[in-house]
């Protein structure tokens, strides 16, 4: 079940250059949210009609936290809002991670219980991994190994990941951790695991998909696409799938409905 709510912003902060967080007090939404899901955030300016899909970064009681990078007019508008102001949001949307199911699926396929999950977050793909890290940590069924890629030394959210597992950092400019991307860090630091969860720019996801296939690791990746309805009705946000899916009959899964989390094997990116 998902909802439309006009919510109050309870806290905002700037986490790094151009990266902001917002805490939202929801009525019902937070209660049903899962890691990997997203919400549609609507502009208060009538010239911008379409929702901005933003991943859920943390769920805390009836509150949702989102972290976003200013990428255009909509996110710029959000970045100027303050606690006490209100926003229309809709969600939780998308499939998100059904953790128990995924972990037992993976165990079934590989014939081996998942002892260590590797979480890849690249850039603004870091925030969606945080709630996942927390829930994996709290479930105590496997270790959490987070590999986070940043542009520079502004390691937003990094310290919060430290609470939930072991963290490795890669930076584009080499200022901290491995110079390069998250896979460079994997090689340098010899990181291994039994399942991969990843969110980040498409080139990174493409590399992780290849890496996972080479190493026969199951990988779950979060895709992005432009959205209009955000709920599966308009067919704007499709991605190519390897198998014909029930809904489309034409190998087009909806990122907002069947996704945004896909088994890397099942999508062409």
């Amino acid at each position: 079940m998902s909802y439309r709510e006009n919510v109050e912003i309870t806290r905002t902060a700037c986490l790094a250059d151009g990266v902001y967080e917002m805490w939202l007090k929801t009525e019902k939404m937070a209660k049903e949210a899962k890691p990997g899901q997203f919400i549609s955030v609507y502009s208060n300016d009538g010239s911008r009609l379409l929702p901005r899909p933003i991943s859920i970064c943390r769920i805390d009681g009836n509150k949702l936290r989102i972290v976003y990078r200013v990428a255009g007019k909509g996110t710029e508008e959000f970045s100027k809002m303050e606690a006490g102001q209100r926003l229309d949001i809709q969600g939780p949307l998308g499939n998100g991670y059904e953790l128990e199911k995924i972990l037992s699926d993976v165990a079934g396929k590989t014939g081996k219980k998942v002892d260590r999950a590797v979480l890849f977050g690249g850039g603004i793909g870091v925030p969606p991994m945080l709630e996942l890290a927390k829930q994996l940590h709290d479930a105590k069924t496997c270790d959490v190994e987070a590999v986070l890629g940043y542009r520079d030394n502004q390691l937003f959210l990094k310290s919060e990941f430290d609470e939930f597992g072991h963290v490795t950092v890669a930076t584009e400019d080499g200022s901290i951790g491995t110079k390069g991307n998250v896979l460079d860090a994997v090689k340098t630091c010899k990181i291994t695991g039994d399942v991969i969860f990843a969110c980040g720019p498409t080139p990174m996801l493409r590399a992780i998909k290849a890496y996972a296939e080479e190493n026969s690791i199951e990988a779950y990746i979060s895709l992005e696409e432009k959205m209009a309805c955000g709920i599966g009705a308009c067919l704007a946000c499709v991605c190519k799938t390897t198998h014909k899916d029930e809904h489309s009959q034409v190998n087009n899964a909806r990122v907002c409905k069947e996704g945004p989390v896909f088994n890397a094997k099942e999508v062409e990116i």
């Binding site: 009609l49 209009a228 704007a236 946000c237 489309s248 087009n252």
Partner: protein, 310 residues
């Protein structure tokens, strides 16, 4: 200010379109609502005069590459390319779903050739659907579609061909990308159309100046949303003065006042499209808002408003 004494039960919001009775004039526009399934989480479909389905063809269509949409000022452009699962899946899944509700079913039909349309319309003849809406105006597919919608003789021909096999009344959906919309309406009237719906999207383009590329992969897309409402209202007005057919008006409706613009220039039905993306409850808000307007203004019957501005 005088306050009218009308209450809900004094009001008649019901309208007839080509002999089919709708509980109220409000529906959603094809392609913006799927077959209603996803929106049923937000909207009680029983409250809608009709549900208009996403365009469906005789066989599945894959649609266009992504990005398929781009936001524009007060609107959006889309080039979905009429992705659809084909009639078989549609008839097994979507029609039974909609039959659960007390609303009329309007199936939007697309095709690349006359044969495609005829095939689909024939198959739909067996189905419990109330009206067919023939999309001859989709700007986002290379073949067919839009050509039928821009040349009067072609529009008349395809209408006549469809009418010949159709078991349900036929609504022809017109493209606004023409010099003279009245001429197009007269052509489909001559072809035997039972009703017209308008407008489909205006062909538009957006450039991503930072990446120096087209914002939608198909280069052009269909512009919709409140940005285009004045063009849509003007065209409905022109068509209402040109033909004797019921009109379903659409293009940028976001609230009851917007819908009333269309009704007042002659639309019998109204459809909400892009606004659903901004607020999934728009359709029911339009129904409620029309009712409130009638109460506030002492209008007992919606027919007092249809075409009242001349």
């Amino acid at each position: 200010m005088e306050v009218s004494k009308l209450t809900d039960k004094d009001l008649n919001l019901g309208v007839d379109i080509a002999g089919v009775h709708l509980n109220n004039p409000v529906m959603e526009a094809s392609g913006t609502f799927g077959s209603g399934m996803e929106y049923s989480e937000y909207v009680d479909l029983n409250r809608l005069g009709a549900v208009v389905t996403k365009g469906v063809a005789n066989v599945p269509w894959p649609g266009n590459p992504t990005p398929r949409i781009a936001e524009t000022y007060g609107g959006m452009i889309n080039a979905i390319g009429l992705q659809n699962p084909g009639l078989d899946t549609f008839c097994n899944r979507d029609i039974p779903f909609l039959k659960q509700y007390d609303t009329k079913i309007i199936v939007n039909v697309c095709g690349k050739t006359e044969e495609d349309y005829i095939d689909a319309v024939e198959k739909l003849g067996e189905q419990p659907v109330d009206l067919l809406e023939i999309n001859i105006s989709c700007p986002n597919v290379k073949e067919g579609g839009i050509a039928f919608g821009q040349v009067p003789a072609m529009a008349e021909k395809i209408t006549a061909a469809v009418k010949k096999v159709a078991k349900q009344p036929v609504i022809m959906k017109l493209s606004p990308n023409v010099t003279d919309i009245a001429e197009m309406a007269r052509a489909v009237e001559a072809g035997g159309a039972d009703a017209v719906s308008l407008i489909n999207t205006l062909t538009g383009m957006k450039i991503d100046v930072n990446r120096r590329t087209f914002a939608v992969a198909n280069k052009t897309g269909g512009l919709s949303g409140p940005a285009i409402r004045p063009v849509a209202v003007r065209m409905v007005y022109q068509v209402a003065n040109a033909v004797n057919l019921p009109i379903i008006g659409m293009g940028g409706i976001t609230c009851a006042e917007d819908a009333l613009e269309f009704i007042m220039v002659g639309a019998t039905g109204v459809a909400v499209g892009t606004a659903n993306f901004n607020d999934p409850m728009t359709t029911v808000k339009v129904v409620d808002g029309i009712r409130d307007y009638m109460i506030r203004n002492g209008v007992k019957d919606i027919h007092e408003l249809i075409g009242c501005v001349k």
